[in-house]
Symmetry: D2
Subunit: 268 residues, 4 copies
């Protein structure tokens, strides 16, 4: 079956993803590229390097800064190449929270995402196509405001806060007090490396898994503001998640960010 | 019972609203003033003047522009005097959709809000304290983006769209193509007049209702962008709601807006 | 203004509650009576009597069993006199969690509800009309199943569990291991006494509050199953809520229950 | 990578699905079998046979009853082999709506599911492992009640209604007036045949798709009640979905049902 958008009785229903349908328009996911514009709030922190190591596949190692980690909130708008999603704000918006661990592949710096949550099903499923372990959660992130007293300004000092809950339990809270400008935080500038996983379902089938990096284009950063960061990961899921709690919390950052996500590349 | 925040056994539990509790900290609502900062997208439109008239209490009349109406989306942050809510983005954010009808009281221009929906319970309940008929809905509104392709810029030409659904049914969709700057739209500049309603519950009790306007302070407008508006109200609720569907659609507007809501004033 | 369902220009828009509208059909709430059929899971427990006392208005006292309390989960269907809501399952269903404290008025046994959460806005608002301090939360309760392995049977031994979360934080968890039959638990058989509160909004206005009991009719209990109860209240809200955490946990109960809620009665 | 639950640095993180983690406990999905107990409400209907044909892969044909279809609501509890999920009602419950089309493979009667929605992410993702095109929606279904006036009884005549909405738009409504008993409806008794799809992500990668049937065990039906059915599919998604609207509506059914889902079997 092709991933095209037309079909006849020889090919049957089509689509980039399920659900397949006669014309392909019912597919939950559109084909890449996908364009993203968002507001990011990130806190650098450190985990126990041994805990981080246990989340890495054997092809990767911790690199020169073992235990480097980041907790990242984002509020996104996205669209496909056509831009059609932008007229439906429910469809083009989502919130995200993820954890990044610094790592290397043969000396090349990368980031590994052991956990991620979004608040809409389309980006969740799109994550799994890439190998990004997105699940569904409740994500809330301060928005800068342009007038009045109920928030701080988009480009300037102030405060941003983020919270994430999963199935009715708070799993992380983050805060940043922005005081000055800075360069983009390192872990937000390196490629992500994911493991694509196709769970076994047929008798005797082996789960297929592959390491892939994500190819992005048109990366754009707005001014980066920085200041003291605060971060708490709560022990509300399982011991593996809890093992990535901060042993030290560093700087926080807030910035506008855009990228286009094009395709994956097998690690080699 | 006072609305204070301390109590002893002589007074019992206290609070500005239910739930009353020993120290008053459990109250769902904080006492006013409440400060709001938001992004507004509004479309001017016209309804059948006879339909608008039927939504007005006898003390009000349609004034010199019968049938003038507006459909308004907003994405807010809010806080109490202390600002405490601002560190909890789930608590300080909400979306809103409302309809405004132009009207007058003894020659004084006002706006009447026959319907309003928000996506959080605190602003819903706070609305009822004021007489504003807020119900719960799903509100989605385009956000301007500062970088990348997935949206238009905060202060400039572009497109904004809003959708609102109630109990799984779409009830309104709105769009604006911003092309230039303008003054604030009239119906957003006049006071709102509400009917406070306390439903009868005791045998023989009469429902109490009072006309009140809302006293606001510290009003602030960002630059107002305008252009062609689009609006559809769907017949998914009842005939009364459907009677306010547009007979003509006018200009659309997008702007940042702030106000502080202080107290009500009986109409006289 | 009457609570009737027709109007003309002399009376203006009508309704039992906001929103008022020309024919009254837009009101969020229907007029009582309201009929309820549900499945209840309840755990008897004990709180610090001094903490319970601080939640009682001065007219009430703790009675002969100070510190008696219950944590109650319910999954309801409801309808107005017409039964019209029953064909819309989204409208007629809701989940509820509440706390009851044993108390007395002049020797008459009553129950006081200091906290309650529901998962739909209509029962929340209907609660405030009665003086019941309902807020919005996420409520989940085991359902008995009639076939298969994924649950225990409706009328027999087994296990029931309930969880409630508020704004992304777990605030209570409850479990019952049903082993035999029993009489209905006492706190579920006495009238509730609420404080109706109309928050002040006009300058100089005093908050009105009145003690009322709820008049119910057509009470029906299914067979009551009982066994060991488990209960945890988490310190995720404020100190007042936390002060009602269990100092001792008693028996649990599960049963079908129905009632019709007719009107309030001033306590005298 | 194995799907086991232990790992060391040679294998890296493990799990039946993403997220992979050191001990495998973070995986969103547990390994099969999965046990389901539920309440089903189903309406038999007929679609345009040419429309149904366009949803079938070329290996399948419409069989002796072209255009036979069913719309199915279910309210489930589920658990893994350990039963651990049953003490967390949020985790073990979900609602589902799906469409079935009658078809055949080499004369063997099967059902094809072109569309399905659930209201929790775990069953959604588990569907994709099997090739079942589950998406996220709001599902509501009448519950039988054991006492009182707000519903009809579990085993007897009465009414059941279901509604499903997707991203704020109603897509289907169904009703059944139960009057007598019957055999289970045919389309609920034949195996489902799905297309497993792994969307292409690497350059040059071809989307993999395979036809598989689902192997179930321990099927159990409660008494089946039947009566007149009502069904509407609304044109709120795309033309492909709309092409499966009813041309004729048949009987409705309500029954308790259980099954265990074991693994897939390639069609041959």
């Amino acid at each position: 079956m092709s991933s095209g958008t037309t079909a006849d009785q020889l090919t049957g229903p089509v689509g980039f993803s399920l659900p397949l349908s006669p014309s392909g328009t019912s597919a939950m996911l559109t084909a890449p590229p996908w364009h993203f514009s968002g507001e990011i709030v990130l806190v650098d922190y450190r985990v126990d390097p041994a805990a981080a190591r246990r989340f890495l596949p054997p092809e990767l190692d911790l690199g020169p800064d073992p235990g480097a980690a980041a907790a990242v909130f984002a509020e996104w708008q996205w669209c496909s190449e056509s831009g059609a999603e932008l007229t439906d704000p429910e469809q083009c918006q989502f919130g995200e929270f993820l954890i990044l661990l610094g790592c290397e592949y043969r000396g090349r710096p990368l980031a590994r995402c052991p956990y991620a949550w979004v608040d809409r099903p389309v980006p969740m499923m799109r994550g799994w196509v890439q190998g990004m372990p997105k699940q569904l959660g409740e994500i809330h992130l301060s928005r800068p405001v342009r007038v009045g007293r109920a928030g701080s300004r988009p480009d300037g000092p102030g405060r941003r806060d983020g919270t994430v809950s999963v199935r009715g339990k708070r799993i992380a809270e983050l805060g940043v007090r922005l005081t000055g400008q800075a360069e983009p935080p390192f872990l937000h500038t390196v490629p992500l490396v994911h493991t694509r996983v196709f769970p076994a379902w047929l008798p005797g089938e082996r789960t297929v898994s592959r390491l892939v990096t994500s190819k992005v284009a048109d990366v754009e950063f707005g001014p980066v503001w920085t200041g003291d960061g605060e971060l708490a990961l709560f022990d509300a899921l399982d011991g593996d998640y809890a093992s990535l709690a901060p042993v030290e919390t560093g700087a926080g950052y807030a910035f506008a960010y855009a990228e286009s996500l094009c395709h994956g590349t097998e690690l080699s």
